[in-house]
C-alpha cells in the first residue's frame, strides 16, 4: 500500500491549475454528468492528459455486490484482478504492481470506485505528491457521484409524485366512467385495466361468479396467461348474488417483478369500491325505471277501472240508493254496481277480487264485462252465476278468485233474487230493526270449475226496509294496533243504530266511523258498500 499524503490542498490546486485546458473542461463537466457511465467517462477524459500514454480502468462496486462492474476499460488483460486487494467492503487504499497503480476509494452511498492507472511507475516511483493527486481526483469523483445521485433522487421523487397525481386523477376519472349509466363495457373490466396499469402489475384478472359458477373472466393484458404468483393483491365484493374478484400479480420494476406496496392494495380496493357503487347504482336506476313503467301501467289500469266503477247510481223510483268504493291502492280489487235490466229490474252487485293491482283489475274488468253481457239475456240468476264462474275461471290465474253478492231487484214488488258466491252476508234491515242475512249461493267465482250448481235465495224488501251490501274492507279495516273494525263494531248493530236518514248519509256515517277506528293507520283493504232503502 502506498503511504498517505501530507501535501496541502492549496499546493495541489496550484499544480492542477497548470494542467491542460482539456483537464479543466472535464472537471467542470464532471458534476453535471447524468449517468454513472458519463461520470466515469468524463473522469477518465480529465485524468488521461495528466498521464499521457497510460491506460485507465474505472470500475464500480455497489455495497453487497459480488463483483466489480467495469465502466471504463483500457482493454488490458487481468482487469478483474486489478482491485482484488479491495475485496472487502472496508478495504480501500492503493496498490502498486508492475505497470499498474490501482486505487479503491469509498463513495458516499457505501459503494466503491476502483481506478487503475496502467503505466510503469516513473523513475524513482510515485511520489507522495502523485498519490495525493490521485486521491484528490477520487474525492472529486465522489463529489460528482453524490451530485449525480442527488439529481437522480430528485428526478425519482418528481416522477413518483407525478405518478401519485396520475393515480389520483385516474381514480377520479375511473369513478366517473364506471358511474356513467350509458357506459357500454363492463365496469369491472375497465377497473381491472386501470388497477393493473396504475399499480404497475404485470398481469391481472377479474372473475364474476354467481352461485359458485364463474360467469365471466377478463384478463389483463388480454389473453395473458394467468399464472399464480406469491406477489399478488386481491380485492372483491358481492352484490345481488354476484361476486366480483380482482387479482393483480407481480409488481413491475426496472429490476424485475416484486411484491406490491400497501398503496397498491388501497388503490385496488378503491377501484373495486367504485365498481361496486356503479353496479349498485345501475341496479337501483333500473329498478326506478321499472317502477316508473309499472306506475304508468297502474295509472292506465286505474283509469280503466274508474270507468267500471259507477260515477253515479241509477235512480230507482220508490228507492234511495247509495254506494261507495275507496280503493286502498291506486287499483283496487273491489267492484260494485247497480245495472238496470231490460225487464225493469235492477242487478245489484258487490264483488271482491283477491289481491290488488293490475291482475285484480283485469279480473274486475272481466267480471264487469261478462256480467253486463249475461244480464242482457233472460235466465235464472243461479245459471247466470254458474256461467260467470266458468268464464272467470278460464280468464284467471289459479291464485285469483272473486267473492260476489248479486241480487236482482224487482222495484215494483221489492222481490229480490240473490246469489251469494262466497261473499260475506248481505243484510236486510226491517223497519222493526231486526236483520235478515242473505248468505246462500255457492263457492267464490273463478276458484273451481266443478259444475257445482249455485243456488239462489229469494227475499223481499218491504217498504221502509233497507238492504246493505259490503266487502270485508269495511269489517276488516285495521287500526295501528292491527285490530279489526268488526272486533270493536258489529256491522249489524251499526246498521240498526243508523236506520234513519238517506243512503248517502248512512254511507257517510259508516266511512266516518271506519276512519275514526283506523286513525292514522294506512287503509289495509278496499272499502266498498251499497245501500238500498225502499222508501215507505
Amino acid at each position: 500500500m502506498a503511504g498517505t499524503s501530507q501535501i496541502s490542498r492549496e499546493a495541489l490546486l496550484d499544480r492542477l491549475s497548470v494542467q491542460s485546458a482539456a483537464v479543466q473542461e472535464s472537471l467542470r463537466k464532471l458534476p453535471k454528468t447524468p449517468t454513472l457511465k458519463d461520470l466515469a467517462g468524463q473522469f477518465a477524459a480529465g485524468f488521461r492528459p495528466l498521464f499521457p500514454g497510460a491506460g485507465v480502468d474505472i470500475a464500480h462496486r455497489l455495497s453487497g455486490a459480488p463483483t466489480w462492474e467495469f465502466i471504463v476499460k483500457s482493454g488490458a488483460p487481468d482487469a478483474e484482478r486489478r482491485f482484488s486487494f479491495g475485496e472487502t467492503e472496508a478495504s480501500h487504499g492503493s496498490h502498486e504492481t508492475p505497470g499498474c497503480l490501482a486505487f479503491v476509494h469509498p463513495l458516499s452511498d457505501g459503494s466503491r470506485v476502483g481506478l487503475a492507472l496502467l503505466m510503469n511507475a516513473p523513475a524513482g516511483g510515485y511520489t507522495e505528491f502523485d498519490l495525493a493527486s490521485f486521491r484528490l481526483f477520487l474525492h472529486l469523483y465522489d463529489q460528482a457521484y453524490q451530485e449525480m445521485l442527488s439529481r437522480k433522487n430528485e428526478k425519482g421523487l418528481v416522477f413518483s409524485m407525478n405518478h401519485r397525481i396520475l393515480q389520483l386523477n385516474s381514480l377520479i376519472d375511473t369513478g366517473i366512467e364506471v358511474a356513467s349509466l350509458d357506459f357500454g363495457d363492463s365496469p369491472h373490466k375497465l377497473a381491472l385495466v386501470r388497477a393493473a396499469s396504475l399499480a404497475n402489475a404485470s398481469r391481472g384478472i377479474v372473475r364474476l361468479t354467481s352461485g359458485g359458477e364463474v360467469r365471466e373472466t377478463h384478463t389483463f393484458p388480454e389473453g395473458a396467461a394467468v399464472t399464480v404468483s406469491a406477489n399478488r393483491i386481491t380485492s372483491s365484493f358481492s352484490f345481488s348474488g354476484d361476486t366480483y374478484a380482482f387479482e393483480l400479480f407481480d409488481k413491475e420494476s426496472r429490476s424485475g417483478p416484486g411484491p406490491f406496496e400497501e398503496t397498491d392494495q388501497l388503490l385496488l380496493d378503491a377501484l373495486a369500491r367504485q365498481v361496486h357503487a356503479a353496479i349498485e347504482n345501475r341496479h337501483l336506476h333500473q329498478q326506478a325505471l321499472q317502477n316508473e313503467l309499472l306506475e304508468q301501467e297502474m295509472n292506465v289500469a286505474a283509469a280503466i277501472q274508474k270507468k267500471i266503477i259507477p260515477v253515479s247510481l241509477p235512480k230507482i223510483a220508490g228507492y234511495d240508493i247509495a254506494g261507495v268504493n275507496i280503493p286502498s291502492k291506486s287499483i283496487g280489487g273491489d267492484y260494485y254496481d247497480c245495472i238496470p235490466l231490460r225487464d225493469g229490474r235492477y242487478a245489484l252487485v258487490v264483488a271482491d277480487v283477491t289481491g290488488k293491482g293490475i291482475p285484480a283489475a283485469l279480473l274486475v274488468s272481466s267480471l264487469h264485462a261478462y256480467l253486463s253481457a249475461y244480464l242482457e239475456g233472460e235466465q235464472l240468476l243461479a245459471d247466470l252465476v254458474s256461467r260467470l264462474n266458468k268464464v272467470l275461471f278460464r280468464a284467471s290465474t289459479p291464485d285469483k278468485f272473486v267473492t260476489a253478492f248479486i241480487a236482482l231487484l224487482d222495484p215494483a214488488t221489492g222481490e229480490l233474487e240473490c246469489v251469494n258466491a262466497g261473499h260475506n252476508p248481505s243484510y236486510v234491515l226491517a223497519t222493526d230493526r231486526t236483520i235478515r242475512e242473505l248468505r246462500f249461493g255457492g263457492l267464490p267465482l273463478a276458484s273451481f270449475d266443478l259444475d257445482i250448481p249455485y243456488t239462489s235465495e229469494q227475499a223481499r224488501l218491504a217498504k221502509g226496509e233497507r238492504l246493505f251490501l259490503y266487502t270485508d274492507g269495511v269489517t276488516e279495516a285495521e287500526n295501528e294496533r292491527h285490530k279489526l273494525y268488526e272486533e270493536e263494531v258489529s256491522i249489524t248493530e251499526f246498521l240498526a243504530k243508523h236506520a234513519t236518514g238517506t243512503g248517502e248519509e248512512f254511507i257517510a256515517r259508516l266511512i266516518a266511523d271506519v276512519r275514526r277506528f283506523t286513525g292514522s293507520a294506512p287503509q289495509s283493504d278496499d272499502i266498498t258498500a251499497l245501500y238500498l232503502h225502499r222508501l215507505p
Binding site: F159, N162, G223, E252, S253, R254
Partner: protein
C-alpha cells in the same frame, strides 16, 4: 382489452418511426428503448412513436420513454408521440413527458414538425 406488446419500426428520411401495439410496461418500454438505442447509435436523433394501438402505459413503461426523451434532449434531438388515445395523452402529460417531447395527431404531422 389491451394485448401483449409488439412493435414495428422504419426509417423515414433518417427519422425513426416506431409503431407500438399493446401494453407499454417494463417489457414494452424495454423493447422501445432497445429499438431506439440501435438507431441512436447510428446518429438518428429524431423519433416518432405512434401509440395508436397502445391504450395503456404504466409508469415503468413511461420511465423508458422519459429516458429516450432525455437522451434526445441532451443531443438536441426530439421525440414526437402521435395517434394517442386521450387517456394515454393525459397520462403522459401528467407525468411530464411533453416538457421536452412533442405530440402530433399522426405520423405525417409529426414528420412535418421536424422540418
Amino acid at each position: 382489452m389491451e394485448q401483449s406488446f409488439s412493435l414495428t419500426s422504419e426509417l423515414r428520411q433518417n427519422r425513426l418511426v416506431i409503431v407500438t401495439s399493446g401494453y407499454i410496461n417494463n417489457i414494452g418500454g424495454e423493447a422501445i428503448a432497445k429499438e431506439f438505442d440501435k438507431h441512436f447509435a447510428n446518429n438518428v436523433k429524431e423519433i416518432v412513436i405512434n401509440l395508436e394501438q397502445s391504450k395503456v402505459v404504466n409508469s415503468i413503461g413511461m420511465s423508458f420513454l422519459l429516458e429516450i426523451i432525455e437522451q434526445l434532449h441532451d443531443v438536441q434531438g426530439k421525440v414526437v408521440f402521435t395517434n394517442m388515445d386521450p387517456a394515454v395523452e393525459k397520462m403522459l402529460t401528467i407525468m411530464g413527458l411533453f416538457e421536452f417531447a412533442g405530440k402530433a395527431a399522426n405520423v405525417d404531422d409529426a414528420m412535418r414538425s421536424f422540418s
